[in-house]
């Protein structure tokens, strides 16, 4: 059986620097998969290659067995892989509802002539219903009319995920979703992610918050300096000597 997403010998070179070096891992359908590693390990670069933001120097990204490496980002998104961005990348000038409506672009593709003559009532209503559903899921229903740029940081992070969720993804790539959240917000967000997962959405997660990672993930891949380091369940990773060494620095490095 093929995995939903498989990364095969993925490599990214920036000039002389190899940011990601022959990385391999598999994401199984319906799981929450974590990607961790110290700063500069190449996690975000890996994300950017999977989502089509970068074209890998070598290697393959297989989605249901199809190689999607090097496709433009919207083509990757249309195959069901939707990503969020680090920091609060949103349409700050648009309202929260409009942000979510942009997220419904794929399930409700706009049509020029229908839009001019008003034949797209059903699609518009459907899109709005879906957008509101996504906002409600992430607890943003009350702030729908506000400008996204005016939201609190936690709400902005939630909106970023709502935009991704509104597009009916098969797999979401979350780039540091818990950054800047307080422990309570993190806990709440973890609950929502578990719910997403039980709805059948596969999640690939880059995160520094170890408690969140350990509490959420079914499987964790650890990278260091662009290379694969270890893979396994939370308990395994926590006690893995190579992982501990990468994070805390081993005696060899000190000497």
């Amino acid at each position: 059986m093929t995995s939903l997403l498989e990364v095969k010998d993925l490599t990214m070179r920036f000039g002389g620097l190899t940011a990601v070096d022959t990385l391999n891992f598999k994401v199984e359908k319906g799981t929450i998969h974590g990607l961790i590693g110290p700063n500069g390990a190449g996690k975000t670069t890996t994300f950017n290659m999977i989502s089509g933001f970068y074209t890998p120097s070598a290697g393959e990204v297989l989605l249901r067995g199809e190689n999607i490496a090097g496709l433009p980002m919207h083509e990757v998104a249309r195959r069901g892989v939707v990503r969020t961005f680090q920091h609060s990348t949103l349409f700050a000038e648009l309202t929260v509802l409009e942000n979510a409506l942009v997220g419904t672009h794929m399930p409700f593709r706009p049509n020029l002539f229908a839009a001019i003559f008003g034949w797209d009532k059903d699609a518009r209503n459907g899109a709005e219903a879906r957008a509101r559903e996504a906002l409600t899921f992430f607890g943003l229903a009350d702030v729908g009319h506000e400008h996204a740029g005016d939201l609190s940081h936690g709400h902005q992070r939630a909106l970023g995920m709502a935009v991704a969720y509104a597009s009916h993804p098969d797999i979401v790539l979350l780039d540091e979703p818990f950054t800047g959240m307080n422990p309570e917000e993190t806990k709440h967000m973890m609950g929502l992610m578990k719910q997403l997962c039980s709805d059948g959405i596969t999640i690939l997660l880059v995160e520094h918050d170890m408690q969140a990672i350990m509490g959420l993930c079914d499987n964790i891949t650890c990278m260091s300096f662009g290379k694969f380091l270890a893979e396994g369940g939370p308990a395994e990773i926590r006690n893995h000597p190579a992982v501990i060494e990468a994070y805390l620095g081993g005696a060899r490095h000190v000497a």
Partner: protein
């Protein structure tokens, strides 16, 4: 109901307007009507965040296309005007392939270069474009009657009514596009193209779509102009005219649909009434430049920001009683 009333009043005012003006002012009114379509179509492109310096040349493409088609093949003029829009749109589609490899400042310069190339082609090829002298004796709009009103296109008043109807239809379509999910996608492309793309938006396709639609309506405006003045040449569509369009858009403000239109109307009135009265017409570029600088310094959100200030106050006042409860 209230809307219908307002639009009826506006239509009545527009109907009565030419009768209050002198002959030369009526002519200016026709140009103003056409220019409104030029700036309004320009705004559709700016929705995606791209600013072009070739918009007026594309308008010229529509003018040349309609003039040549009606002259050579005897095409019925209203159809020629539509074809002017179609040809301008197709030209934009062809130009989009090289131009949308760039964005932002590079697109601006690229569009200017593309426009100049088109203008040089008009100048270089006397056959079929008429060289630097352009095309003369363009077929006028044929007269017709709609029962209660006889369109006599020798009169600017008639041409004003005709162009006002055409422009109104075009504005309605532009408005519908802007308020649709497509308009929202244009804005998404403008504000965060990466996030839009991650939501499955084909950036290139949407930039091209906005460029083609904007150019198509500019082409219709150009064709309207050509059949009114009867003669066009490459210098009718040079960069000076483009600067005027930019000034209208910037002074009016581009964050609302009515902003550029407001800028166009106010500056035209200023130009025709104030400058002409003072005999300062020759200094128009100078004064426009000054107005542009002053408005960027003191009114960065354009004339529309003043309108918004008043409408917001009204909203707040109407909200207050509810808050008191």
């Amino acid at each position: 109901m209230r809307n219908i009333f307002i639009w009826t009043v506006i239509a009545a005012i527009l109907f009565a307007l030419p009768n209050l003006l002198s002959f030369s002012q009526q002519e200016v009114l026709v140009f103003l009507t056409i220019n409104i379509l030029v700036v309004a179509s320009y705004r559709l492109l700016t929705l995606t965040g791209e600013w072009s310096l070739g918009h007026v040349v594309i308008m010229g493409v529509g003018a040349y296309a309609s003039a040549m088609l009606t002259k050579s093949s005897g095409l019925y003029v209203p159809l020629g005007i539509v074809m002017g829009g179609v040809v301008a749109g197709l030209t934009a589609l062809a130009l989009s392939y090289p131009l949308f490899r760039m964005k932002g400042f590079y697109f601006l310069i690229g569009s200017f270069a593309a426009g100049e190339i088109i203008r040089l082609l008009w100048k270089r090829f006397r056959e079929p474009f008429g060289g630097t002298k352009g095309i003369k004796g363009i077929d006028p709009m044929p007269d017709f009657s709609v029962g209660f009103y006889d369109f006599d296109f020798f009169e600017p008043t008639s041409y004003f009514y005709f162009s006002a109807i055409v422009v109104a239809i075009c504005l309605w379509i532009l408005w519908r596009i802007e308020k649709s999910p497509i308009g929202l996608t244009f804005q998404a492309v403008h504000w965060q193209d990466k996030l839009a793309q991650a939501s499955g938006v084909n950036l290139r396709a949407y930039r091209t779509l906005a460029f083609v639609i904007a150019s198509g309506f500019a082409g219709i405006a150009g064709a309207l102009l050509a059949h009114y003045i009867g003669t066009i040449n490459p210098n009718s569509f040079d960069v000076e005219v483009m600067v005027f369009v930019l000034t209208w858009a910037i002074v009016g403000g581009t964050s609302t649909f009515y902003g550029p239109i407001l800028g166009c109307v106010v500056l035209t009135i200023l130009n025709e009434v104030v400058l002409r009265e003072l005999g300062l017409e020759q200094t128009r570029p100078l004064i426009y430049g000054l107005i542009l600088i002053l408005s960027i310094l003191f009114m960065p959100n354009g004339l529309e920001s003043i309108v918004q200030k008043f409408t917001r106050q009204k909203e707040r006042r109407s909200l207050r009683p509810e808050e008191a409860k």
